[in-house]
Amino acid sequence: MNPDSGIPQNLPDDTPVDLAGAFRDSRIQEVLDQLDRELIGLKPVKTRIREIAALLLVDRLRKGLGLTSGAPSLHMSFTGNSGTGKTTVAMRMAEILHRLGYVRKGHLVAVTRDDLVGQYIGHTAPKTREVLKKAMGGVLFIDEAYYLYRAENERDYGQETIEILLQVMENQREDLVVILAGYKDRMEEFFRSNPGMSSRIAHHLDFPDYSPQELLSIAKLMLERQQYYFSAQAEKAFQDYILRRMQMPHFANARSMRNALDRARLRQANRLFARNQAKLTKNDLVTIEAEDILASRVFKEGLPDDKAAVRQGAIK
């Protein structure tokens, strides 16, 4: 360490350390609280984020005392079914790492295979580097990362992207954090065929599916944000809806909830329009009634709405 950097070299072992003060100063609790408030469930994920925050904070204190603190590797992989909040958590992660001073800017660059892999020889490297340059100082989020590697085609340009990524992940750890995301089984396969990638990722976070109760809380939170409310019957109907929808194909956790609510709002608007003579109050505008939810095809035909629409189109 630089002797004139102002950092004390040899402090006695009993030098007091103000962990609580450092914790307060980093205002990390705010972000963690926000995470607790706005993300329902996801216990293992929240625990891990807390651990990472603690590690970085302790590291910073160590640095202040002139102890070695090698930048820990914070590349992560997020695995879980669709709609379990991987992107949302990644966005939060960028903010947390920024507050802890691990990344300098704290922005999130979300990309997929298309943004990284080129279309002809010599196209891939500059394209990947361009994306990496933009992500420097922040977090690079690669959604459905397993598409980067195509086992059936050994001349696929994705391999080149992986090699550049590996190099940057190793050599420029202090410049950016890479988060790979995707379905659990396919990500595991991806790591099996790319052991180099697997060993450079320190944190494997698994996003569990939500329970029906959690899904209801999520739905209510979403409604609240849009300034709508369930009537008491509507809430019961929606509970029933969740249980039925979960059994059906293409269930995408929170995303399915959002879609269901969007359609419920549509039906609510239609219902209000249908009785155009009656007097409306503000209460009518913000309340979702049971009939808005029970009109769903999930109840009538036992099919998710979007699928039923496709089938109907085919019959016509």
Partner: protein, 140 residues
């Protein structure tokens, strides 16, 4: 003869962290940063070669430092400069431009005098380096 062109040219050469801080300043002002190089440092030569495209949408200096270092590695004996371009309406010009790499030996310029009508003298500059063809200047 040490060439003094652009901003900071009368200061000692910048260290990497100082360059990085200047780039950071450009990014803070939303200027697009570009890297250029040349082996013809005549003060009126405004057209230096571009090292890749100007870099828009960058958030951090690390990516730009990478390009600067790549350019310095490829042309260790050329002049390399960093420009900050402001695209704001009304400005639309380079706001900051400074040299980040220069050849070890800079032969400098000769003053040329030309006799004009009525014994008038016109002056111009001639760079000793450009006596050699492009690519062979600043070899040592």
């Amino acid at each position: 003869m040490r060439i003094t062109q652009g901003t900071f040219s009368f200061l000692p050469d910048f260290s990497d962290s100082e360059i990085s801080a200047q780039v950071e300043y450009c990014l803070k002002n939303n200027w697009a940063v570009s890297v250029e190089f040349t082996d013809d440092p005549h003060p009126r030569n405004t057209y230096w070669e571009m090292w890749g495209m100007p870099m828009f949408d960058m958030k951090d200096a690390a990516g730009i430092m990478h390009e600067i270092n790549q350019c310095r590695k490829a042309y260790p004996n050329h002049y390399v400069r960093v420009n900050g371009f402001d695209s704001t309406r009304g400005w639309e010009t380079v706001r900051l431009s400074f040299i980040v790499n220069r050849p070890k030996h800079e032969p400098g310029f000769q003053v040329l005098r030309e006799e004009g009508p009525g014994r008038r003298i016109r002056y111009t500059l001639h760079s000793y380096a450009t006596e050699k063809p492009k690519g062979e200047r600043y070899k040592d």
